[in-house]
Symmetry: C2
Subunit: 430 residues, 2 copies
């Protein structure tokens, strides 16, 4: 059973705080192991990469096998059914279309003193995309990572994906092909991140690494940060459904289950103003779980991390939602606009009864790589800006330089940087 | 003497690669020490914070002293000369005005299937700003970190600044006051970062930590990343001047010196098409260094890390500039527009003979917190977006949900996430 809280209970604040701070991942410290792997890849390159890959993935590759050939990509793609191919293409086109709207505009202007200031956006040259192997190897995630990079104008995208026991999903390779990614290596773990960050003879180094992974991948990204850019450190997925009496309990239950079935610490929380709805949803989760082919993971996730919170008002729900700062927030309300503007911290908001979170996972068009573990307080979902960077432009002429000079020289003196001041005053005709 | 390279030399590529990969910072590994400090702050809070502060800063504070009082800020601010106060206010107003133009716009639209998609930007609630103590304690940096946060709409800004031997610069406190920052603590190092990230009884935790610091601060930021957001890891400052025969050698020399005087691994590089200019600049650096009151640091930096590179054409200069990906690039050219568009990787570009980099450090209006150590390949200077985050919005009605449903269900089946598919199909009237 999930925990059940009511905002009117005397111990509510303590129990809610405990829910917020509850750990959903084993905090295995693998940083020393990962540091050794990174060092090994930096020192021995491909040799280390092949050895570590064969060891961890139980394979027998040589260096020449590391890159997946065009022929292998084509033949895998051909094995995928037309139905799936069309669904992936549909998803791709919608994701592409939405992300095109995120492209930033350059802005150059002259201010009242005659100084020209500007911001110019350019794409990152080369990006590495990590795709997990095994259970969490999702073709939709290939699209969600690759498409924004393509839209940004990234020229080189290198994808890495581990192949435990030599197996790889055909739909992963098809998704890569649809997204225009053809440089793919069958490596994973910290060794793959190190290869992308520092380069080997086979894998040229990239400028930025994105994509989710296990504890080793997360630790490796943290350690190579600075050498390359990284995206966020992904944690277990989570949904917060805010519902009132207008919600359909079966639909809400289905959404809570959809999140719980990710396993690995995934969390589903319902906040509702209606105790009756809370009861109905709990009952329906139980009923629907019985219908799910693989119900064990979802049931375990719901029992261990699920929560049902009853509140006195939607205003209370908003306050709690902003403290939870969930990756996904659903507003299962007839009038979602009443509180939509007040929800400040959320990776994505799914509005109204007809927008299940799963639609956004696949074909909504927005990105499903979103901030987890309360990081929506400070982080955004993956987007085009993650694959671009802004260069500031500044341009003075003699007149505008002279208008700025005095204040700059005064400040350089305060900071005891005389050379700074001299580089300005030497240009003045005095 | 700085190294001297010519692109026509047989060993140029090797020597240039060595210049690129040269280390300018001691890579002292303090991660274990920092992990222990963070753990201590998390366990013992203010007691640990006071102990560590008194130990590292040679002070005798109690918990009640940690926050700098309004009266102390006011009295420090009153000690600053009018000239400096006006210069700081002028800088503040220009920085504010430029950053106002970076505020992102929300965007909500309905696509051809009737799906509403949107991006909504909201400020981070609470930000911590780290300000170094001692030599590199710059009031201009207080403005550069605080103003974008204010413009973003951050409600709470907490500043930390170590006070070695109890000393703090009045101009730092005045800059904070001008920027509207009044919550200031006299703590620094990894212990200050830990306090901001995890909170103590005195310092409420924040959502994001920004600002430069020493190796301990950098390691602490890396370790708390995820618990809070962080900005980039700052490295030594650097400038690349691209000059042709139109450049004034004395001005270029002054700019190279201005960068070198930062010390601590700061690097100045000149790339020029004119061997005569290269010689003249080298001679003038030597001459001007003799005029600098504190020439030792600048001379050491120029001798150890400086480089003068002669090339056959401006096109060659651009290729090298994009590989260097410098924090600051100056175009000391009569016709800078010829190559401005081709420089893809740079934190900031200072255009033409009359835009010394130091103007941008203080009063240009753009931010002086910029990506170092070649990270302009993937990172941007500090800006308003660093203090905001984007929430995706998605909204379907029965009709648009039904248009998206089939592809989403197909993809959920490929990914063996039956609960995802069910959360969609349960809403369809079939």
């Amino acid at each position: 059973m999930p925990i059940r809280l009511d905002s009117q209970d005397a111990d509510f604040q303590d129990r809610f705080a405990a829910l917020l701070s509850g750990k959903r991942e084993s905090s295995q410290d693998v940083s020393d192991t990962v540091a050794a792997i990174i060092s090994d890849i930096r020192t021995r390159g491909d040799d280390a990469l092949v050895e570590l890959t064969n060891k961890f993935d139980r394979t027998h590759f040589s260096v020449a096998d590391l890159r997946i050939s065009e022929a292998e990509i084509e033949s895998a793609a051909a094995r995928v059914t037309d139905e799936v191919r069309e669904a992936l293409q549909f998803a791709h086109d919608r994701i592409r279309s939405h992300h095109e709207k995120q492209k930033p505009e350059d802005h150059v202007y002259q201010d009242s003193l005659g100084v020209t200031l500007g911001s110019r956006w350019t794409p990152v040259d080369a990006v590495g995309i990590y795709v997990p192997g095994g259970l969490a190897s999702y073709p939709s995630s290939v699209l969600m990572n690759a498409v924004p990079a393509k839209v940004a104008g990234v020229e080189r995208i290198a994808m890495v994906v581990p192949t435990p026991d030599g197996k790889i999903s055909s739909s992963i390779l098809l998704a890569a092909k649809i997204a225009g990614v053809t440089e793919i290596y069958r490596v994973g773990g910290a060794q793959a991140i190190a290869a992308l960050a520092y380069g080997t003879a086979t894998i040229a180094k990239v400028d930025k690494v994105v994509g989710p992974g296990n504890a080793f991948v997360a630790a490796a990204k943290r350690q190579v940060f600075g050498q390359v850019g990284i995206d966020m450190i992904a944690g277990p997925s989570e949904v917060l459904v805010i519902a009132d009496g207008s919600a359909n309990p079966a639909w809400v239950a289905a959404d809570l289950i959809a999140q719980a079935e990710h396993g690995g610490g995934a969390q589903s929380i319902l906040i509702t103003t209606e105790k009756g709805l809370a009861d109905a949803v709990e009952a329906d989760v139980d009923r629907q779980l019985n219908l799910l082919p693989k119900q064990a993971i979802a049931r375990e996730g719901w029992d261990e991390f699920g929560a049902v919170i009853t509140v006195a008002s939607l205003d209370e729900a908003v306050v709690l939602a902003n403290r939870i700062a969930s990756e996904h927030v659903e507003l299962a309300l007839d009038n979602p606009d009443l509180i939509l503007g007040a929800i400040r911290h959320a990776g994505a908001i799914f509005i109204g009864h007809h927008t299940p979170e799963a639609i956004g996972d696949y074909v909504g068009g927005s990105n499903h790589v979103l901030p987890t573990a309360r990081s929506a307080r400070f982080a955004s979902g993956l987007g085009v800006l993650d694959f671009m960077k802004r260069t500031s432009l500044l341009r003075c002429d003699p007149s505008s330089l002279s208008a700025l000079a005095e204040a700059a020289v005064v400040l350089s003196e305060v900071e005891a940087l005389d050379g700074h001041g001299r580089s300005i005053s030497i240009r003045l005709n005095r």
